[in-house]
């Protein structure tokens, strides 16, 4: 007869590691008795597996490095780190840098043990991309407060098209067209007294099941509907609706009342809109401010909105967009107030947002990137006026929480407050002579967006920018060279690549380590293929559509980008909550083993992408 816990110390060790910490001891026990322990002396390698079996390894003690077949470093792993051998797509060698004790699991047996715990199964996925994706999803579903704990009826849309099963496909499509903002119809059996929900169609179904297959549109809708769609109850939490969406990978969830009658619909857009209401109110308030004092008072509200969004774990690009809208509003209102303070505008101008502000990738630590373009016949005194004007706006923005740019890429710097002709020359010079010191200016101003003033000035400048950049191979290869100058850290947490930060000890700068790289590389792809979109995710999508990258690279890169952005937002939220100053640097000691694993996955993906860019553009 055996003890209830056969292997107490091993169960205790596993129970302290993500994702095993989500499992009860009985399951950990069954995992432990299927485990094997291996000792790797310093300098020894994990023997290549001869069987078709896949294994997962956890480092109990010691340090392991992984190297790719060409000898380059894949990652460096320490205690509690998890790694796996997947024979199909991960071909690397694992070497012990120190004497290491390794726990080995048969992957199939392990998955069998955790079969009842889908979240754990997802997190134990062997592919880096799936792991990143699951961590984004998990964080989203674990939102602690805010929207997710409201009841479904508080946020559900009541505008919903209800049709009988006999209605033709075409009639249903027409009804859907009339009901604006509604992308789906529910089919309700009205022949029975209790009006039961029998099916659902979405506008996507109309495309994929009707148009694509040339289905006769006079057939009843029942031919193409989804039978017995997933539903949520009126009184359930929004969290469960989101859970249903993610679990079944669906967009629209009908809401039923206690009598099983359809009363509404939950859509992802809806969840986002409800959150944006706050932001819309703020933007409206900003638009009514008459003084700098009134504006600066609203800076705290911006922070509150950020907290609400980050807490609800909204997708990172949405947080970025909302923060950008607020930033735009602050800038535009400051321009209005500056005009009032300095007297009427003497000549035509356009105020440009540049860099991350132009890309709509704003976070709470974003500093200012902006510029002023004046009409060509601006006089000296006009220029003096605009110098004061720019100073006023930039200082005002700083008081509203948008830090002055350390690189001085601001309209308040005379160099970046110039007539159109000078700006046209700038672009010509950068494009023809993309030397290193020019490159930084160029990358900032490769992304521009007009915020106030005369858009015709912007249109001329934008045209010149596109002409100079399009098909400019010298420029592309200069950008590639620049982008490859630094590599993401593959050996973090052995103090190899962390920055010293005063008394805080070693820190990881996530902007430098990964976000910046992804932004740079996505820009290169978009410019190369003539894409004029600015946002990094849109650029990656564009590269996929132009077959510059394949589907799996796209999934890897956009997944990594989202993960890093989310990491930054949640780090900022933590800073705010603990009353600490915001920073982009993270203390690696605060990472759990799985976050570290995700980071390493992310850095590896970025590094692989850099290699791909190098190959493709031959820098």
């Amino acid at each position: 007869m055996m003890d209830s816990t056969l292997l107490p110390n091993i169960v205790a060790f596993l129970g302290a590691i993500e994702p095993f910490n989500q499992l009860p001891n009985a399951v950990l026990d069954s995992i432990a008795i299927n485990m094997e322990i291996q000792f790797l002396g310093k300098g020894e390698s994990l023997a290549p597996l001869l069987t078709q079996k896949q294994n997962l390894f956890i480092i109990r003690s010691g340090v392991i490095e992984q190297r790719l077949p060409d000898g380059s470093l894949r990652s460096r792993l320490g205690e509690k780190d998890i790694f796996g051998f997947s024979l199909e797509n991960e071909n690397y060698q694992a070497n012990a840098l120190e004497n290491s004790l390794i726990y080995r699991f048969d992957y199939a047996a392990l998955l069998h043990c955790v079969a009842d715990y889908p979240i754990v199964t997802e997190q134990l996925a062997l592919s880096a991309n799936r792991r990143l994706q699951s961590s984004v999803n998990v964080q989203w579903s674990e939102g602690e407060k805010g929207l997710f704990f409201k009841s479904v009826k508080e946020v559900a849309s009541t505008r919903i098209v209800q049709v009988p099963p006999s209605m033709t496909i075409q009639e249903v499509a027409r009804l859907m067209r009339h009901e604006t903002g509604c992308s789906c119809a529910v089919i309700v059996d009205n022949s029975s007294l209790n009006n039961t929900l029998v099916g659902m169609v979405t506008d996507k179904d109309m495309t994929k099941r009707v148009v694509a297959d040339a289905v006769d549109v006079t057939l009843p809708i029942t031919h193409v509907m989804t039978e017995h769609p997933w539903t949520v109850g009126n009184d359930e939490l929004v969290l469960s609706a989101v859970h249903v969406m993610m679990k079944h990978n669906i967009q629209n969830v009908p809401v039923l009342d206690a009598n099983k009658q359809v009363v509404g619909l939950i859509t992802p857009q809806l969840l986002v809109q409800k959150h944006s209401v706050q932001a819309v109110f703020l933007i409206e308030k900003i638009g009514r401010c008459q003084s700098l004092e009134e504006l600066t008072a609203l800076a705290l509200e911006r922070q509150a909105i950020f907290e609400a969004m980050a807490e609800a774990n909204l997708p990172s690009h949405l947080i970025g967009q909302v923060l950008t809208m607020i930033y735009d509003a602050f800038t535009q209102r400051l321009i209005y107030i500056a005009e009032k303070a300095l007297g009427p505008i003497p000549c035509r101008y356009v105020w440009l947002a540049a860099g991350s502000h132009a890309r709509s990738e704003i976070h709470l630590l974003s500093d200012q990137d902006n510029a002023l373009v004046l009409e060509n016949n601006a006089t000296d005194s006009d220029r003096v006026y605009f110098n004061h004007f720019a100073m006023y706006v930039c200082k005002g923005l700083a008081e509203c929480g948008y830090a002055l740019c350390t690189g001085r890429f601001m309209a308040a710097t005379p160099k970046w407050c110039q007539p159109l002709n000078v700006w046209l020359q700038y672009y010509r010079k950068w494009a023809n002579n993309p030397e290193y010191d020019m490159l930084l200016s160029l990358t900032v101003f490769l992304e521009i967006r007009p915020l106030a003033g005369d858009n015709t000035l912007f249109d001329i400048l934008e045209k010149q920018r596109v002409v100079q950049v399009k098909g400019n191979t010298r420029l592309i290869s200069a950008l590639v060279r620049n982008a490859l100058q630094t590599r993401p850290p593959l050996g973090i947490f052995n103090n190899l690549v962390l920055e010293k930060e005063g008394k805080n000890g070693k820190r990881l700068n996530i902007k430098k380590a990964a976000i910046g790289h992804l932004v740079d590389l996505a820009r290169i792809y978009a410019l190369h293929d003539g894409g004029e979109m600015l946002a990094t995710e849109a650029r990656l999508r564009f590269a996929l559509d132009h077959q510059s990258i394949n589907e799996s690279s796209y999934q890897d890169l956009s997944g990594t980008y989202q993960y890093m952005m989310q990491l930054r937002y949640s780090h900022h939220l933590r800073c705010l909550r603990s009353g600490k100053p915001l920073s982009n640097t993270l203390n690696p000691d605060h990472f759990g083993s799985f976050s570290r694993q995700h980071l390493k996955d992310a850095f590896r993906i970025v590094s692989g992408f850099q290699d791909a860019v190098k190959m493709k553009f031959g820098a």
Partner: protein
């Protein structure tokens, strides 16, 4: 030295085996003593190993009892937890307060959950067939096991190969600087092996197995681990 080595421990074992070869013992003892011993020139890493640990209420097999036993097997240099066993042993003799303190095993616990001594030892003997036997400070395990064999099968000693990680460490310490603390946890620390809670028979068996693998690396690096060296070290 090699001549001495060949003449002493292994020769004795072989001679003893020859003496009892005419007798037939009940299983699993018969299999255990009739399975040939490993060649001393083999790479120890290729041999099947069983690592065991007993928790007892004293050091004298004549008067004291085994309270619990745990073991785990090593195959091809890998510790297989699927082979891990841990048995509490039912005993008529009361456990003295002191040993209960050390092992956290209370008499009630043992009598309720415990296994009959004979069944536990039979399971162990079965698991030992064809394997090298390892313990840390094997004199205890060897003493209690041979006492049991003597009682039940009237065989004075068990002709099998024992390795002892404590002795191996003492042998190693002649190469390195001397370290006077030979307890399992302390020795493991020298190899940077993790802290495990002590005095749980199975945990100690696993801890010993890990230590053994670390010692193999320390002694032989990536060269073949000569069994004769390990036997010699364990005999000292």
């Amino acid at each position: 030295m090699l001549a001495w080595f060949k003449s002493t421990p292994l020769k004795q074992l072989e001679a003893q085996r020859d003496r009892i070869a005419t007798q037939v013992y009940p299983e699993p003892l018969q299999s255990l003593v009739s399975t040939p011993l490993a060649d001393t020139l083999t790479d120890a890493r290729l041999l099947d190993v069983i690592v065991l640990d007993f928790e007892t209420n004293g050091l004298n097999p004549q008067v004291h009892n085994v309270l619990s036993m745990g073991w785990v097997e090593i195959t091809n240099g890998i510790i297989n937890l699927g082979s891990a066993r841990h048995y509490l042993i039912r005993s008529e003799t009361a456990i003295t307060g002191d040993s209960a303190m050390i092992h956290h095993l209370l008499p009630e616990q043992l009598n309720k959950a415990g296994l009959d001594e004979h069944r536990a030892f039979s399971q162990l003997l079965k698991a030992m067939v064809g394997k090298i036997v390892i313990a840390h400070g094997s004199v205890i395990e060897k003493g209690f096991l041979e006492h049991y064999i003597n009682q039940h099968y009237h065989l004075s000693s068990l002709p099998i190969l024992w390795l002892d990680t404590l002795k191996i460490e003492q042998y190693r310490s002649q190469i390195r600087s001397t370290k006077p603390d030979w307890r399992l946890a302390s020795v493991r620390k020298c190899y940077h092996l993790p802290d495990y809670p002590a005095h749980h028979a199975l945990m100690d068996a696993i801890a010993t197995a890990e230590l053994y693998l670390a010692q193999l690396h320390g002694l032989f690096g990536s060269a073949p681990a000569k069994l004769e060296v390990l036997i010699k070290a364990s005999q000292r």
